[in-house]
C-alpha cells in the first residue's frame, strides 16, 4: 500500500487539499510534520495521515533528548543528513526511522560506514524528489549525482531506500507509479525502485507503530512493565 512519507503540508488548513490529491493519484496515505491529535489519523475517504518529525539541531546531546521525547508521539522520525557524526548516531539508534537526504549537495552523500550501521538497525535512506522538480540542467545533474551515489552506497550496504515526494503543494505530489520510474533515475532497477515506493514505506510504518506501542530496547527486548 503506497504511502508518501514526506508531504510538507504548510498548515492544517491546507491538509484537505493534500488529502484530495492523494485520493486522485492513488496514495493510501502520507506523513506530515503537523501537530495532529494522534500519530495516525484516518480521514472519511480512507486516507491515512501519519505524523512525522524531522529532528533538527547540530548538537548530539540535544538530538538525543529530542528523540526520547518525540518517539511515542510521531509515526515517523527522521534525521536530515548533514553532519557525519549525527548521521552515524542516527544510523545506530533504533528509535530513528529515516535518514533523509534533504539537501542533495556533494557534502551530504551518505558514507559507507553510515549505510552499514543503518542496514543493521533497519533505518532507511529517504530520497525526497521535490528538488528535482524545481531544477534543471547542470543543477539537476549535480543533484542526480548525489542521489545516485547515495543510493549505490546504500544498496551496496543493504540499507533500505525509500522515495518520497517532499511536496510543499499538492500538485507536487506524485503518483506511486510515477515515483517508481523516478527511482530508476537513481540507478535502482525496477524491482528495487518499486520496493522503495510500495513496500519499504509500509514496512517502516509497521515497525514504527510497534516502536510507539512498546518500549523496545533492542530486537527481541522490550520493557513490558517498569518497577515501582
Amino acid at each position: 500500500m503506497p504511502v508518501d512519507l514526506n508531504a510538507r503540508v504548510p498548515s492544517l488548513e491546507k491538509l484537505d487539499t493534500f488529502v484530495d490529491m492523494a485520493c486522485k493519484i492513488g496514495l493510501t496515505g502520507f506523513a506530515v510534520s503537523l501537530p495532529l491529535g494522534s500519530p495516525i489519523t484516518r480521514t472519511d475517504n480512507g486516507v491515512v495521515i501519519l505524523t512525522r518529525i524531522d529532528l533538527e539541531g547540530n548538537n548530539l546531546d540535544v538530538l538525543r533528548k529530542q528523540i526520547g521525547r518525540v518517539r511515542r508521539q510521531s509515526t515517523i522520525v527522521s534525521v536530515p543528513m548533514r553532519d557525519t557524526e549525527i548521521a552515524n548516531w542516527a544510523a545506530a539508534d533504533r528509535r530513528v526511522d529515516l535518514l533523509t537526504l534533504s539537501e542533495p549537495t556533494k557534502d551530504h552523500v551518505i558514507k559507507e560506514s553510515t549505510a552499514s550501521l543503518a542496514a543493521e538497525t533497519g533505518i532507511a535512506l529517504e530520497i525526497p524528489i521535490a528538488p528535482l522538480l524545481t531544477s534543471s540542467g547542470l543543477d539537476r545533474s549535480k543533484m542526480l549525482r548525489v542521489y545516485r551515489e547515495s543510493v549505490t552506497t546504500a544498496t551496496h550496504a543493504r540499507m533500505r531506500v525509500v522515495l518520497s515526494s517532499g511536496a510543499i503543494e499538492p500538485i507536487l505530489m506524485r503518483a506511486p507509479s510515477a515515483m517508481w520510474f523516478v527511482g530508476t533515475l537513481f540507478g535502482m532497477d525496477r524491482r528495487h525502485s518499486r520496493e522503495a515506493v510500495y513496500s519499504v514505506p509500509d514496512q517502516i510504518v509497521a515497525a514504527s507503530e510497534h516502536k510507539m506501542r512498546t518500549e523496545s530496547v533492542s530486537p527481541g527486548v522490550e520493557i513490558v512493565r517498569e518497577g515501582e
Binding site: R140, I171, L172, L185
Partner: protein, 94 residues
Amino acid sequence: MLFHLHRTGPSIDARHLSNAIWKSFLSLFGETSVADSRLFINDYDEENGLGVLQCNAESVDKVLASAALLSSIDGTQVSFWPERTSGTLKGLKR
C-alpha cells in the same frame, strides 16, 4: 501507456504536452535516446487529462521518468500519472 495529467490552471493541448515530454526526455537522456524512442501521444483529452502515450519498449522507463519529473507546462503546474502500460492499444483499452 494510459496516463492521467493532473493540473492546476488552464488546460494543456496535446502538442504542448508532447513537446514538454520530449524536452524533459532530451534533457535527461540526450539526443540519441530521444531519436530511438519513437515517442508520441496517440490520444489525449485536454479537459480530463487522460491520454495514451506510445514509445518503444526499451524506452518506457526513461519516458515515464521524464514525464514524471514535469512540474509545469506553459505556466500550468502538472503532475503526470502513468496509470497503466500495455504492449498493445487493445490491451490498454480493455
